[in-house]
Symmetry: C2
Subunit: 375 residues, 2 copies
């Protein structure tokens, strides 16, 4: 029965009229997107908004495209539950450029910001902030290879802001609670934004590279509460100044046209599902996989149970020598993107919003079948 399941392949993707084998896409990002966003993108590449021109051949200042950016910005604010005291813009350069722009805009030479170190990306953010001012790392989970989220740390009221990373793609930890902070909170939500309801009003700034839960690579969302963090008193190059992009509605220069379009259609899909339903859906997928990891004697999880991410499930084989065989079985079952990050190894299944539970079931089936053969 398990054997039969593990070899089951679904023929549901129709491409150029050819029935394709369904690939279960566990990629850590760029990652699976809702089919509607991809279909809308294909249609717009052919004829955008009835213009007779392709989406990628038209002025970003055309009224048809300005409507795309405006709707995407409005949807972000609606989904984060924030009002007119917040601005949302789409920039370029990924979260990595935000690691620089945040302290460049907000951290003066002699000021201090507090950072929580929960993994590679948090560490990079710390490093970049050090170019501009003083950094106080309030807590770190590096002592146990970032396998947990530190708790019970203190954020100094003298800090300009507190920076954290809500989900750690590489290690598979997620913050389900944010600390009470005496200073404005800045959060990198690149890999779990819109995977569950968040009260945006708890944050002075939220940012996210689009390419996990929100869209394709090529655009970065920045949501800022007006005047929440005092601007640093240094000269800021124009393209790196948040206020310039806010004042110009993400159109100071040519934006990443296609990426914002796909993001809009991903946001529309997220809204149609609803964030509470999205959280239930994501919880069901994660519960299914973690239950199998805990049950199956061949595998074990690598993260403290209370901090296990619903987005990125990290696990290993108890006998590393079996890893190659398991990857071969995954490949045969069209289970794609399961290799752990090159810096940590093992397995990682990313279960972003658009992944269906049937894909998680296919992975669980493969794990059961592997146990039958090797256990």
């Amino acid at each position: 029965m398990a054997a039969k399941n593990s070899l089951r392949v679904s023929l549901i993707r129709i491409t150029n009229g050819i029935l394709m084998t369904k690939v279960h896409n566990f990629s850590a990002g760029p990652a699976i997107l809702p089919p509607s966003a991809i279909q809308e993108s294909i249609a717009a590449l052919q004829n955008f908004a009835g213009t007779g021109l392709s989406l990628i051949e038209i002025s970003h200042r055309s009224k048809e495209y300005e409507a795309v950016v405006a709707e995407a910005q409005a949807l972000v604010k609606e989904l984060l539950n924030v009002g007119d005291d917040y601005d949302a813009v789409f920039l370029q350069g990924g979260a990595s450029l935000q690691f620089d722009m945040i302290p460049m805009n907000f951290l003066g030479d002699n000021e201090t910001a507090s950072y929580l170190n929960t993994g590679v990306w948090a560490k990079r953010a710390v490093k970049e902030a050090g170019f501009f001012g003083n950094v106080n790392v309030v807590a770190s989970s590096e002592d146990k290879n970032f396998s947990y989220i530190p708790k019970d740390y203190v954020i100094s009221g003298d800090s300009k802001y507190f920076h954290c990373t809500s989900n750690n793609t590489i290690y598979g930890t997620e913050m389900f609670h944010f600390p009470t902070s005496p200073v404005p909170v800045v959060c990198d939500m690149s890999s779990d934004i819109f995977s569950r309801p968040i009260n945006g009003n708890d944050f002075a700034m939220i940012y996210a590279g689009a390419q996990k839960n929100m869209g394709p690579a090529g655009t970065t969302l920045v949501v800022l509460k007006k005047d929440a963090i005092k601007k640093a008193s240094r000269k800021i190059p124009t393209m790196l100044d948040y206020q310039i992009h806010i004042d110009n509605g993400s159109m100071y220069n040519t934006p990443s046209v296609f990426a914002i379009f796909v993001t809009l259609h991903t946001l529309r899909w997220i809204k149609s599902v609803g964030l509470e339903a999205m959280e239930q859906r994501n919880k069901a997928k994660a519960d299914l996989l973690y239950a199998e990891i805990d049950r199956n004697g061949l595998f074990r999880g690598t993260v403290a149970p209370e901090d296990r991410s619903r987005m990125n499930v990290n696990f290993v084989l108890n006998n590393p020598e079996l890893e190659a065989d398991f990857f071969a079985m995954c490949k045969a079952a069209n289970l794609s993107g399961l290799k752990g990050h090159r810096s940590v190894g093992g397995l990682r299944a990313s279960l972003y919003n658009a992944l269906e539970i049937e894909s998680v079931q296919a992975l669980v089936d493969a794990m059961k079948e592997f146990e039958r053969i090797k256990g």
Copy 2:
């Protein structure tokens, strides 16, 4: 006869099985792209390189996508005729971010760089350089609203580098000759790159936002000669350091996946045409339109004849009151994107690589017909 021509519409674009009216796309950028690049993009959104996954759902570190970036970088170097002493990378943020990155990387606090001021973008580059060091504007055509390219200026040997803009999208001027420079030359070729053969070895740095002759919005090409300009002695944030992107082959962080893919297929098309043939093709289109502007008593060009751009043809109606009528005629004839930049007004026809001469002929036909009615 002219009347008949001006109303001719071509039914050649097939979208979703519906025969569409051909729109003649004179957009200044994002702009017309070769049909092959759009078709390849649609196919890759459905199934990228036989992976069964969409181009925008797959890891940028998959071997299939790494091959895209590697081929695009190699094609750029081949088309610019440069060897292993040059690096080509694809960044984000448009030419506008380069206005900051160039002086941040190369212009020390007490050093001076020479800039040629030929329009809005050149002026922005000057402004940003001023954040980092001293700027010497060697010449400017601002006295005549940037309607010509200054000549016979002197570039000081004390300059760190000389910066110029090869084509001015807003004003319709183009540099067909570059000055003999005692210092390394940095050129913003955003709007005429790959429109004609260029000896890349004459430049220490060439950069270009993709969204005119080379691809869609969302990626920026930077080509740098190794060690040609000494690095400034300041700390440079990681994401703004050219060497980081070079050392990581445009993959320090997630690149703008889709935009680079479309760029690759645009570069393949450019190579298949050949740069000498491309120049002849672009010259023929520009000659056809400028000849009509000079012949037709209702219109006049706004640029010094020797500096007229082949990419952006700026012209006005001698009687501005007729402008609305002419735009209405253009609209009826499916001639799109002809409004001059909001800062200068009048008309602008952008004739980038992918525009066919039949589109220019359709515009010329409309101008003749307008003369018949109003002349």
